[in-house]
Symmetry: C2
Subunit: 238 residues, 2 copies
Amino acid sequence: MRYELYYWPTIQGRGEFIRLALEEAGADYVDVARRPGERGMAAMLQLMAGKGIAHPPYAPPFLKAGKLVIAQTAEILFYLGPRLKLAPRDEAGRLWAHQLQLTIADLVTHIHDTHHPISGSLYYEEQKPAARRRAESFWRYNGAKMLGYFERVLQGNGGAYTVGRRLSYVDLSVFQIVDGLRYAFPKRMKRFEKKIPGLVTLHDRVAKRPPIKAYLASERRLPFNQWGIFRHYKDLDA
Amino acid sequence: MRYELYYWPTIQGRGEFIRLALEEAGADYVDVARRPGERGMAAMLQLMAGKGIAHPPYAPPFLKAGKLVIAQTAEILFYLGPRLKLAPRDEAGRLWAHQLQLTIADLVTHIHDTHHPISGSLYYEEQKPAARRRAESFWRYNGAKMLGYFERVLQGNGGAYTVGRRLSYVDLSVFQIVDGLRYAFPKRMKRFEKKIPGLVTLHDRVAKRPPIKAYLASERRLPFNQWGIFRHYKDLDA
């Protein structure tokens, strides 16, 4: 099965959580909107407009697997998980991994909103005072609390993996969270990492896995930049 | 199977999307934290603290079904859907209903953030100017766009139901969204409803279904109030 991933071609964004799973598994996939030429992007926008499709997605990322087109990052990973051997196969295990991924999705929204608390339709510069307060609140309350939750889940499972006895897509997503927070908030993370030693170790181990290491060194891994979920603004990294 | 729902006892909040499904189906369930006495609330907080539980949830709502404890509103509905005959049984249909529910979860977060754009740990009064801007942006951009998306999905499916040929938990959630927005933003909704005639008609039909009608008239349906997702602030309802 050749999977087709549809996502914005210039950012890691939410699509990166899926790219990491496909790369770790060595899956056969096309990152449609990043193919040379304009056609990939046009194909993505047509699907979003609902043309010739029974179940039009609200927003990227979405995945085409044969006739199926599904959206929402966590749902795509829920679908791919057992197929890529990156999730437990039993119902309880699959639901647990999905539940953690949905909580990561909430965390991702909170991270995004540290720089865009008022609206994604306005520039950062138009919402700077609110962004400073939201970033402060993230590191003091909800962000700190959520990261602490994942640290406890990991330690409660033995410390090596968040779910079960082997690597899952949740671990890959934890890698991306730590990696992105290091880019966006280098100073704050330097202080905070001692509170989440397990997540940091997991990040480092994931980065060394041969398929991930090769991916990170390739051109397929887009660099972090100022248009994605994780953005570095000095004012927010007090 | 007697289901146990765990949710804050004084608000509709995210738990209400699950209550509506259980009520429509006439399911055997206990709203644990609302049982008389303190014990229900204590049981909920113990589960959240991870005591005696393999898969501790990050936050309510969560559902106990036999030995299984699962969290995240959309996941709980994904699990309950086929069991309560409120979702298609085939994989593609189940995933489509879940995808829509995850998009409703995003919408719910946006609605919540109209009154709490900076932090859930601060009072509304501490973030009023930001709330006014976020509410304005909600009705102009992302909220309006998401509601328009659900209107198109409904019309594209024939206009009677969002998914398939019969009522699903997604329809019940659409009811709750329209009902809550009417409470929180009566003036804005009065103007906006002409853009989503299908969703409004669906809301009205759901409200008349005998199990839902009985539920809404009962004491089990908590009234909207100023502690939930949907809150009425005059300043935000320009």
